[in-house]
Amino acid sequence: MAEIDKLVKKLHPLERKVLKVLPKYKNLEEIKEHSELKEVEIMRALQWLQNKDVLKIKKDTETKIVLGKNGEKYIKEGLPEKRLLEILDKEKSMELNDLFKKLERNEVNIAIGLLRSKGAIEINKANKKTILRITNTGKTLLKKETLEENFLKNKFPLSNKNLTPQERYAYGALKKRKDIVKEKESITVNAEISETGKKLLKKDLKEDYVDELTPEMLKKGSWKNKKFRAYDIEAQVPFKEYGKKHFQNQVIEYIKKIWLELGFKEMQGSLVQSAFWDMDALFVPQDHPARELQDTFYVEGKAKIDKKIMEKIKQVHEKGTEKSKGWDYNWSEKEAEKLLLRTHNTVLSARTIAKLKKEDLPQKFFSVGRVFRNEVLDWKHLFEFYQVEGIVVSENVNFRHLLGYLKEFYKKMGYDKVRIRPAYFPYTEPSAEVEVYDENRKQWIELGGSGIFRPEVTKPLLGFECPVLAWGLGLERIIVPYFNMKDLREINKNDLEQLKKIKRFME
């Protein structure tokens, strides 16, 4: 099919209506007058036609002459000078004060000035009275139409181009007077038909096309032998409302999948935990700075802890094990019973290994969950954030395996370079800080801690010494650059536009 015929087929009913008048009328106002369409409809149709290269919309800013308030009045009632002459012609002479009763004061003043300069009236002052009379010139003038009157007979708004010299004179005169005519910038829209357009206009555009397929047509089969209007598939469509997961949860779900694929079991637990499980069970001495008020959120209430396990932990803190010296201090039950918002998900690992038996090994666990630190909220600190926790409990794991799991995980997160550096945590030995290399920002990002649980942790909880690889990794420091954010607070900002438009997490 020729291009032009395809074009015909695609025409929207509105376009057809506009095309019908287009050979004759190119101006928006004119099209409006002759097509019975609304301005928005015409504009839409013109836009579509322009997209199809049928025409070009030319928008010109033009200065137009429009009528002022007085102008509109004078068109109906006549100019004041004419009316004054008419009155004087009828009354022969008239006192000024009486004139004010017939015409408005400012109109009278203008009219008198004008008529005097033309010698159309004469004014005499006698007995403190001002008397006006019409002259013979005035009488002749009365019969003639002035240039101004002639000018006002035009149709407004009037283009200021192509005025005759007389019109220009009259316009100049009227412009000086109050609120008769003024200039106004206006935009005129004209369609400029292209070559394609010219060809199109030669086609038969009256042919009947079906716009929408209806259930009725399907029932009756009336669609047969009908032509369907082809759509402009490039036309813009409005956005549709859709649901979306929070971007942080997209990442979390992906991370959970990574660990599940590696054969890990999930751990979960309460956010409010006892200091015992969060700290003591992990061999964090009770005077450790992390337990102080400025680091940890404590919650009202008191925890109930199993006496048997508590005794074991007390022993290891105070006296150690056969091979360990312990911390050598008086361990307090009361301190351990305090409630707190969990400071790390290692608390879940501690609780998990406390339930394991030797015959259950090997085991692998993970958790992705919220943790809390008593921090002032700012662009690089959150008091609530996520931690990716993992443990591998097996007689046969070692430090190189720890590095193996970390590398595997971060490879799946899109980071090829992972390194570990010495670190210190009371519950792991050896301990290692985990860092990944951000290729875009060309820098290493610190992501969290890892290590092998100390015998002082595993012995009382498991009942025997056994290597437990463990890690607690941050999430936010990866999320923020991935989503092109700079401020950690943006994660919980909940701006709905942002949540809708943010790119989906894909790794």
Binding site: G243, W259, F297, E300, G320, F383, P430
Partner: protein, 543 residues
């Protein structure tokens, strides 16, 4: 973590050998110490388990073996001073122990005095837990006379001129008026008697853990010999702290002299710098690190970290506080081996993956809500108290004992206020605003805290009403194949007659309703909002 600062030329002097700066900078971070600054002055972050490195002497001692300039344990000589310290029973109730030493022949200058003060301060803060566990005092020998007595007296009977003061004060006054006294008063709170060191001339040297005497407890550039005491509650910790100090002073070319401490009939001699022995099996090392190091290599690596080997025993310097178990030596071997040199290996450990059923359930609920064209929001668990008033619903929320601000001082008791807050902060954005959140709520039950997971939905648009939100609930129940019962209820946050309590299998699990316009006005929301809050934990139980 503690940070120490010193002049680069001091470090170079202690290292005693020209070292390439680039290599030096790299090695410092491989040692596990974070280099913060390296120009004329050097700033290093030290891990809290290595208080022995909290001075330029201690730091360069560790670095020296690590760089291979020296190897193994550094020997320190201790001579007997023949002098003694008498510890009276009266200190038992307040601060029972002390460990003391004398170091002679140090050429003190301003730089050295500064270094000693930094070392003392860093040890106070870290290992000494802000002087609670350990307080350190250093005194010029020429001004005091042995024997020295460590005793406790009632505060009124303690009279001396404290440092940075011009007049005599008694113990009570010091705690009330002296700046240091005010800072550390809590450490002597409620004690009838305060501890003091007194010399043979009855001069009070200091009142630990607060302050030294201005007259006899201050070293200056004329000082050559010093008396050092550490006081606290655990003799082992005090001995370690003392060892760190005397070794550092010995590195400044001082000579260490021991003192005899008389605890009644019990005599203790400090400092004791004989290395400690610990057994370490090569098999254990290789099992933990996944390496196959031979004895020679192990010896070399341990020497690099400042240890010696004697038969199967590792000799540990007397100032090391962090070696509780052979595992601690293994970490040092790993550091000496170089963390960068470990090759990653993913082991073959066959275990079966398992997602928690409840977590899976929550994920399904999230998918359902997204399918219903809802946008997921995520709010903090910590909320402010006054959100109660905005919702007109006064519930007792769980308190944080030490909040940083009122804004985040409670744990949230229900989710809808969070969603209303989100809507009130989004009034500049386009509508509809249909949102949901899955999150925890907290309730007090006597001493315990009950946590539940819930899902909340808020429909905020021109046509939002009870029907719209009930439709969502109804289709969720259909999706989960659950039957529910809906009952009239009253709730101050909702429009009367447009709020329902919903139960599943006899358990009340949800509220559905249209938010009261007064509440919307409180939140400055000018669009109707209908909501649903469903307890997922309880629903999961009855399913």
């Amino acid at each position: 973590m503690p940070v120490i600062e010193f002049e680069k030329k001091e470090l170079m002097k202690y290292l005693g050998k020209k070292t390439d700066e680039t290599e030096l900078k790299e090695k410092i971070s491989f040692l596990g110490t974070d280099l913060e600054k390296f120009d004329e002055t050097v700033k290093v972050e030290i891990f809290p388990n290595r208080p022995d490195m909290l001075s330029v002497q201690g730091f360069s001692r560790a670095l020296k073996t690590f760089l291979g300039i020296e190897k193994g344990i550094k020997e320190y000589n201790v001579k007997s001073s023949g002098r003694k310290i008498i510890i009276k029973d009266s200190v038992k109730e307040v601060r029972p122990f002390t460990a003391c030493a004398i170091v002679k022949n140090i050429k003190f200058d301003d730089e050295k005095i500064k270094e000693i003060m930094q070392m003392q301060e860093k040890l106070h803060i870290t290992y000494g837990r802000n002087r609670k566990k350990i307080a350190i005092g250093i005194y010029p020998m020429e001004k005091i006379k042995f024997p020295i007595t460590y005793e406790a007296r009632s505060p009124e009977k303690i009279m001396f001129v404290p440092l940075e003061s011009s007049r005599e004060m008694n113990g009570k006054e010091i705690l009330e008026k002296h700046p240091k006294g005010k800072d550390y008063a809590h450490l002597l709170k409620g004690k009838e008697k305060f501890p003091i060191f007194v010399d043979a001339n009855k001069q009070i040297l200091s009142m630990p853990p607060i302050i030294n005497s201005h007259t006899v407890g201050k070293i200056d550039s004329d000082t050559k010999d010093v008396f050092i005491e550490c006081s606290g509650f655990n003799l082992n910790y005090l001995k370690k702290a003392l060892n760190m100090i005397v070794c550092n002073l010995a590195d400044m070319n001082g000579e260490i002299y021991s003192l005899k401490l008389e605890y009644g009939n019990k005599k203790v001699i400090t400092p004791e710098l004989k290395p400690e022995k610990m057994k370490l099996e090569p098999d254990y090392i290789n099992k933990i690190l996944g390496l196959s190091l031979n004895k020679e290599t192990i010896k070399r690596l341990l020497e690099k970290m400042g240890y010696n080997i004697s038969n199967n025993d590792v000799l540990i310097p007397a100032y090391r506080t962090d070696i509780l178990h052979p595992i601690d030596l293994i970490e040092d071997i790993a550091i000496a081996y170089g963390y960068d040199n470990f090759e990653a290996e993913l082991p073959r450990i066959d275990t079966v993956a398992e997602e928690m059923k409840f977590e899976k359930f929550k994920r399904e609920i999230r998918d359902f809500m997204v399918g219903n064209k809802l946008i997921e929001v995520k709010n903090f668990q910590l909320v402010s108290e006054n959100r109660n008033e905005l919702t007109k619903c006064l519930i007792d929320k769980v308190k944080i004992k030490n909040p940083l601000s009122e804004e985040y001082s409670r744990l949230r008791g229900w989710l809808i206020p969070s969603l209303l807050k989100n809507l009130s902060e989004n009034t500049h954005n386009d509508y509809p605003q249909n949102i949901f959140e899955i999150g925890k709520i907290f309730k007090k039950k006597i001493d315990e805290i009950i946590e539940n997971d819930r899902v909340a939905v808020a429909l905020c648009n021109k046509k939002s009403n009870f029907t719209a939100v009930k439709q969502i609930f109804q289709s969720l129940m259909l999706d989960l194949d659950l039957k529910f019962e809906i009952n009239e209820t009253e709730h101050p946050s909702f429009i009367e007659g447009r709020v329902a309590r919903v139960s599943v299998n006899g358990k009340d699990v949800a509220y559905i309703g249209e938010i009261n316009p007064e509440v919307l006005q409180n939140y400055k929301i000018e669009m109707p909002v209908s909501v649903l809050e469903l307890n997922l934990s309880e629903l999961f139980e009855v399913m």
